[in-house]
Every structure is written in C-alpha cells, then in structure tokens.
C-alpha cells in the first residue's frame, strides 16, 4: 500500500527540460543577469561621477552615463542591493504565513478555517498598495520593514492556493492509505503533500512575491523621489545605492522632451526593470507548468 502511495506521487520536474522549460530558461537568464550585476557591485564596482552627462555607451561606460555623469551600469548594479534582502524577507514572511494558514484552513475546516478565511478576506478587501502607502508614510519604515508588510499583505494569495489544493488532496486515497499505515500527520502534510504536490505552486508564488517586491520598491522609489526630490547623494559626494525607481525618476526628471539622447538612461533602467520583472514571472510560470505536467 505504501508502495502504491509512493507511486501516486508525481516525479519532480527537471529544470531545463520538459514543459515550461522555455519559461524557466528565460527567467534563469534574467535572474542570472541580476545576480551578475550584484556580484559586480559586491566586488568593487561603485557608481561615481566620472563622465559627461548623457554620455553614449563606450568601453569606459558600457551603458553610458546619466544626467549627473554617473556610470549607468554601476548605478544599476548598485540598485540590486536595494531589493535582494527585502525580497527574501517578504518571501520568508509571506510563504511561512501563507502556507501555515492554508494548511490549517484546509485541514481544520471548522471554526479555525472560517477564522483564517475571514482574516484573508479582510486583508484582501483593502487594495495592497493602499495598505503599503499608509504603512510607508505613517511609520516611515526602512524598506526591509516595509517588506514584512508586503509579505503579510501577500499571504491571502498563498493561503488561498494552498488551502484549495490541500482540501482536494486530503480526500485522495493515498492520504487515507498513508494515515491507515500509521504515518504521522506532520509527515503526511509536510513530506507527501507540501513537498510532493505543492512545491511548484508555492515556488511560483515566491517568484511572484519577489517580482512584486521589486515592483513596489521601484514604484515607491519613483514616487518618493518625485515628491520629495530625493537627494541621492550623501554628504561626501559619493552616491549611495539608489533603487531602480529612483534612477528612473532622476532620469525622467532630466530627460528633455526635445532631446532623444537624454532618454538613454530611462531606456536602460526601464529595460532592466522589465527584464527582471518578466524573468521572475516567467520563472514562476515555468516552475508551475513543469510541476503540473509531472
């Protein structure tokens, strides 16, 4: 019976093979570029004002310079540091809270399930960005602190998906068989259901959450920079790490409508943001397609 229960588990999807492989390859390239840029920044590439404003790409400045004469490649590399840690924090909070709540709501369908569903509906009723705007302005947290709020506001999505799938799975024969053979409840939930059947969906949600953090960081950086005319430079004249949103806001504020050359930084930073967001979404889609097919 155990053997038949094991046979009921699907084999795990391979990384660059099978359904969704194109999505996974595309996403891996985008995330790889981001990691390489992060590495360049960590190993000493810092943005300094060394060139003329709106310089074209050259050997010295591979992506050209922005309106202040800062190297765009170094600026974009430094921007990686602004969202990597917040994305990991938001993922940790969102995934742990969402999976735990989803499992509890599916397994205990009575009052506990109703309470968790009510909490999710309550959080879901308020548009996520509204809550984040209020938290950002009322408490003025660091972006790492705001990432916790992003994770919490994302939990209804993860909870809903986990709850629905676990509610379907727990009625299947292999779960009854495992329980009848004395396999513990925790082992059934975490090993057979979560690892065996839900990993792809949870991973997809994690990638979506990461993309959402990048988007929120860029959006709020852009809006904050617009509103408060954010001074991106510290007192010693050396620029500190700007997010992609702030780079875009600086570039757009200096981009002249009459001069297309000044749009160069907007195009570079915008293209990188699009590639990263598209890559993370593609990676999530590829992972779930592979898992579903398997």
């Amino acid at each position: 019976m155990i053997a038949s229960a094991k046979r009921a588990h699907p084999p795990r999807a391979r990384v660059l093979d099978g359904p969704g492989a194109r999505y996974r390859a595309l996403g891996s390239v985008a995330v790889g570029i981001s990691l390489i840029l992060l590495g360049l920044h960590v190993f000493g590439m810092t943005p300094g004002i060394g060139g003329a404003a709106f310089e074209q790409p050259s050997v010295r400045h591979p992506l050209g310079t922005d309106g202040r004469g800062a190297d765009l490649l170094a600026l974009i590399a430094a921007a990686q540091t602004t969202f990597v840690l917040p994305a990991l924090i938001a993922c940790a909070v969102g995934i742990v809270a969402g999976v735990a709540a989803g499992l509890a709501a599916a397994w205990y369908e009575g009052r506990i399930g109703a309470l968790i569903r009510f909490a999710a509906v309550l959080i879901g009723t308020f548009p996520r960005i509204v809550l984040l705007v209020l938290i950002a302005i009322a408490f003025e947290p660091s972006f790492n602190g705001a990432a916790v709020a992003v994770g919490v506001t994302f939990f209804p999505n993860i909870m809903g998906e986990v709850r629905q799938r676990v509610a379907d799975l727990k009625r299947m024969e292999f779960v009854t068989a495992l329980r009848a053979h004395g396999i513990g409840l925790w082992r059934v939930i975490f090993v057979h259901l979560l690892r065996g059947h839900l990993m792809g969906h949870v991973t997809r949600q994690a990638f979506f959450l990461m993309a959402y953090v990048v988007l929120i960081e860029a959006s709020f950086g852009y809006l904050g920079a617009l509103r408060y005319n954010w001074d991106a430079f510290a007192g010693d004249g050396e620029p500190r790490a700007e997010g992609l949103g702030r780079i875009l806001a600086q570039a757009l504020s200096r981009a002249s409508i009459a001069d297309l050359g000044s749009w160069w930084p907007v195009a570079m930073a915008g293209a990188f943001l699009v590639i990263l967001l598209g890559g993370l979404a593609a990676l999530g889609e590829g992972v779930v397609q592979g898992a579903e097919e398997a």
Partner: protein, 251 residues
C-alpha cells in the same frame, strides 16, 4: 499620539465625555478649513473608479480579441502570448510616465482628459494584468468547452455558444472581481505618476499631512467598493449558474 495631531486634543476630549455629535463633526471634517471629507473623497473616487473600470474593460476586450485571433492560428496565439507577456512586464508607473511624455512630444497631449486616456491604456496592459487575463480566460474557455452539457449541446447540433457563454459567466466574473482590487492599487500608482487628481494623490497627500479623517474615509471607501463588487459578483454568479442557486438553497 492622537493629541499630537491637529485637533487631537479636542478629539480626545469629545471621546472622553462621549459627545457623539462633536465626534461626528470632528471625524467628518478634514483639517483643511471648511472642507467636508466626502467633498474631497467623492469626486476623487469617481475619477479613480472611472479609470479602473475603463482599464478592466479594455483589458477584457484586448484579451477576448487575442483569444479570437489565436483560435484561428497557433502562430497568432503564440505571438499574442509573447506580446501580452512583454507588455505586462512593464511597470505601470514607467508606462504612464513614458507614454504621457512621448504623447506630449508627438501628439501635443496636455494634462486633463489625455491623462485619463493614458491611465486607462496603462491599467489595461501594464503590471501583469493583460497576460494574466489572457491566460486565465484561455484556461477557462478550454475547461468550459469540455463540460458535459456543452459537449452534449454540440452533439445535438445545438449552438454551443449560448451554453459556453453561461458557463464562462462564473469564472469571468471571478476574474473581474479579483483583478478589480489589483487595478485599484495600480490606479493609485498611475495617478501619482501622472499627478492626476484621484484617490492616489488624495491618499498620499492626506497620509503625508497626517489628515486622519481623509485617510480613513479614502481607505474605507476603497474597501467598500471592493466589498460591493464582491457582493455583485456573488449575485451575478447565483443568477448565471443554477447549480450555485441549488447549493445556496440547500444551505
């Protein structure tokens, strides 16, 4: 602390003596002299809801057009998926700022109604909405086409479109309601990026000035819109699907 806010001491005093009339006057007036909260929130909310429904409608039309074109050729279907995926990866604030500036350059757009048009276009295609709608609608259409009663209708040489339409009503209303909340958030960012006088700017400015009545009214108004839309969705689903009516009757 509430007492640190403008009018906070008066608010605490009214709360202490349970003076409901005074409390009502305090919480229904913003700190801007002579301005009622609803006088600020109402017009802003109407503008935001207008662009959100416009964006949702346009996204739905574009998705249906892409599905119709894709049903005729696999290449067109793949191309539509790639185009929708690419457009959806563009963040809304970038799309809004760039489209409006380029519109100013090439078409001489000025602030006003062109803002609303740009916002509707951006809401329809950016921030993942278009590709999400396209994929979900395709999956729902595929699932509805394989339902027993649709296959039976086709086998009886009956027109399956009517049955397909009813079978699609439930998932489509579900998608619209869930994307509505998402689009409300995106609309706030787009309004801020374009400096449009909608809920986004109102909320941002009110929150920065600690104008609590406006913040509370704006947030609750948005939540009420979502709740009302969810209720309309449930009613619509009950009307469209007799199985749900039977289930609700059994409860």
């Amino acid at each position: 602390m509430v007492s640190d806010l403008p009018g906070g001491v008066e608010f605490q005093e009214a709360l202490r003596v349970s003076d409901l009339l005074r409390l009502h006057r305090l919480i229904s007036c913003t700190y801007r002299p002579g301005a009622g909260v609803w006088g600020l929130v109402g017009p802003a909310l109407a503008q935001t809801l207008g662009i959100v429904f416009g964006g949702l409608g346009l996204a739905m039309l574009l998705s249906l057009a892409a599905l119709w074109a894709g049903s005729r050729s696999e290449r067109v279907d793949a191309a539509a998926e790639i185009v929708a995926g690419g457009l959806s990866s563009v963040p809304a604030f970038v799309a809004a700022a760039v489209v409006f500036r380029l519109g100013m350059r090439w078409m001489g757009l000025r602030a006003g109604w062109p803002h609303a048009l740009v916002a509707i276009l951006v809401l329809a295609v950016a921030d993942g909405v278009l590709v999400d709608l396209l994929r979900t609608l395709r999956a729902d259409l595929y699932a509805a086409d394989r339902l027993d009663f649709v296959r039976q209708a086709r086998a009886n040489a009956d027109q399956p479109r009517r049955h397909l339409f009813r079978a699609l009503c439930v998932p489509v209303s579900e998608i619209c309601a869930s994307r509505f909340t998402l689009l409300l958030g995106t609309a706030i960012v787009v309004e801020l990026a374009l400096q449009m006088p909608g809920v986004g700017v109102l909320l941002w400015v009110a929150a920065a000035q600690r104008d609590v009545p406006v913040v509370v009214a704006t947030t609750l108004s948005l939540a009420a819109c979502v709740a009302v839309l969810n209720m309309v969705r449930d009613l619509f689903q009950l009307i469209a699907d007799p199985r749900l009516r039977r289930l609700a009757g059994a409860r």
